[in-house]
């Protein structure tokens, strides 16, 4: 029988923070979104207090004081490295792995025996070698593995659904809205139809499902009945687009500051493109005012610029981004957010000349290689383009950020 295992790091960002600051263990902890705006991750202790993801940070301040909730800005350099360690360690437990998100992956455990013990072995290894708690659901389909994982989180951390009886018992009390792939609209429709548990859903006629929930819904119901419809995606498709969109630390009205921000995002985006060895054929530039502030004048600008030739050269992409910004910038507004998005990526490199007179493409590679090497060795911003600005007053707030314990020598743990 096919057996799929879903491994999921419990409260990933909180758990990553706790490895390097064990003092946070057992304490309520929240991690804030980019720019310290709202809650993006919560420890179990915070979930118990009823704090939801997405709540504005400033609205939480009384509760933070009352319960002594610990606060961290998101430290993506740390989370990305810890996620890599988690995923590569998990890779050792199965010949096939699908990395589903920064904290979840599927493993193919077909042909493995004594699966419950194996699950505990995976869990203990992660706890010991990396220091993070993970939950494990093992079942015949991806949808059931997801479901088993959710139940495992509330129990011993490992749940194996390998018999009809175990699956039925698991589905019996499982709320229909918690099933993987069921959004709130489907949930409402199902509850209106009197279907509240996964077991009830799995017993519906296929014709009724198909009629009301399309073929995607049918697949989901079949997966609940242990019929495999979703394969492991072992080779992720190349990204169709990439973007760098961020909120500023404060609202900015000046064109010059906006240009710095857009140039910086264009530079980050270009580095991403080169890392993936792809070229963009167009970019879109976006600027937005603060839509939370209804008392201020609102404006959203958006413009797509199609390139003469595909490129991933920072210098060219900054110039295109500037062109886009010039076309959408309007004076008299206070902007809160900007972004640069690359679309229609290609790996075609059959072109040689630049349309910009001041850029010699033959010199691009050595120049950008040095730029990328220095910035990856000594940190982003070591070498930067003048248009990105020096003091970056618009930069996002990260007032509560922990250190880059694993990616910067100046930030490593200290011991007495």
């Amino acid at each position: 029988m096919l057996m799929i295992c879903l491994c999921d790091v419990n409260n990933a960002y909180s758990s990553f923070e706790r490895i390097f600051d064990p003092n946070l263990e057992g304490k309520p902890l929240i991690v804030l979104s980019n720019n310290d705006g709202s809650v993006i991750a919560r420890s179990a202790e915070v979930k118990v207090l009823g704090v939801k993801t997405g709540v504005k940070f400033f609205e939480l301040k009384p509760l933070i004081k009352k319960h002594n909730i610990q606060v961290r800005s998101s430290n993506y350099a740390l989370y990305a490295d810890m996620s890599d360690r988690v995923m590569c360690t998990l890779m050792n437990f199965s010949p096939e792995q699908e990395i589903y998100s920064i904290d979840e992956c599927f493993l193919n455990l077909q042909g493995f025996t004594d699966l419950e013990n194996y699950g505990h072995k995976i869990r203990n290894t992660m706890l010991h070698n990396i220091g993070v708690p993970i939950s494990i659901g093992i079942a015949p389909t991806k949808t059931l593995a997801k479901l088993a994982n959710k139940i495992a989180k509330k129990g011993t951390g490992v749940l194996l659904l390998d018999t009809e009886e175990k699956i039925t018992a698991a589905l019996k009390d499982f709320p229909v809205g918690d099933i993987w792939g069921i959004g709130w609209q489907y949930e409402r429709k199902l509850i209106d139809a009197g279907i509240t548990t996964a077991l009830e859903l799995s017993k519906q006629k296929e014709s009724w499902i198909l009629q009301n929930f399309t073929v995607q819904g049918l697949r989901l119901v079949r997966e609940l009945k242990s019929i495999k419809c979703l394969d492991l995606e072992l080779f992720p498709e190349r990204k169709k687009g990439m973007c760098c969109t961020r909120s500023f630390g404060k609202r900015i009205a000046e064109y010059s500051e906006l240009l710095e921000a857009v140039s910086s995002y264009a530079a980050i985006l270009s580095s991403k493109l080169r890392k993936e060895k792809v070229f963009a054929t167009q970019i879109s530039v976006l600027i937005q005012t603060d839509f939370h502030r209804k008392d201020l004048k609102q404006y959203n600008g958006y413009k797509t610029i199609v390139f003469a030739e595909p490129t991933n050269d920072t210098r060219e992409i900054i110039q295109y981004a500037r062109k886009g910004l010039d076309l959408i910038y309007k004076k008299g507004f206070e902007y809160k957010r900007a972004g640069v998005m690359a679309m229609n990526l290609t790996d075609n490199t059959a072109f040689q000349s630049s349309i910009f007179e001041n850029i010699d493409r033959n010199k691009s590679k050595p120049l950008l290689d040095i730029y990328d090497t220095l910035n990856s060795k000594y940190g982003r911003g070591t070498l930067q383009f003048a248009s990105e600005g020096l003091d970056k007053k618009w930069k996002a707030k990260t007032d509560y950020i922990s250190k880059k314990y694993t990616t910067n020598w100046n930030d490593i743990l200290k011991a007495k």
Binding site: P22, N23, R85, C88, T89, M91, N92, F93, F112, T113, D114, Y118, H128, N129, I130, G131, Y405, T406, W409, I412, L413, K414, A415, K416
Partner: protein, 139 residues
């Protein structure tokens, strides 16, 4: 069931062949071996290895000085006489020698100025990892 751990360093091997302008093959071709690397010498499980900076003189007699970088492997099981990185509640991270003696467990400094810490029910200590090497820059 037996687990086979692939060597993660395999993924990092860069392939390069020497460029010879006129077409004379290098006499060394085919004999290339991987250049020595400190990572290979000091790190056996890169995914579970972290670096920690020593502060203070509590391990001076074990030749660990302030500013030294300790290579810490979490995947190892700490044994008697290992140098470990431990976290002591309300005190912080510490590098000490783990000593198990007559049913008791101690964190031993390597400096007579300091007293050993007994790990007991009164003090919460967790062993974070085992120190597998020390790195010191001279310049």
């Amino acid at each position: 069931m037996r687990l086979i751990y692939p060597d993660p360093s395999i993924h990092k091997i860069h392939s390069f062949s020497s460029k010879v302008p006129a077409g004379f093959p290098s006499p060394a071709e085919g004999y290339e071996e991987k250049r020595l690397s400190l990572d290979d010498l000091l790190i056996s499980n890169p995914l579970a290895t972290f670096f920690v900076e020593m502060e203070g003189d509590s391990m001076i007699e074990a030749n660990i000085q302030t500013g030294d970088i300790a290579v810490v492997d979490r995947s190892l099981q700490a044994k008697h006489n290992d140098i470990v990185l431990a976290y002591i509640e309300a005190s912080g991270f510490t590098i000490k020698r783990l000593i198990k003696r007559s049913g008791k467990v101690f964190l031993y400094p390597a400096n007579k100025k300091y007293t050993p810490i007994e790990i007991s029910e009164f003090i919460e200590v967790r062993i974070w990892g085992v120190v597998t090497g020390i790195v010191r820059k001279c310049l």
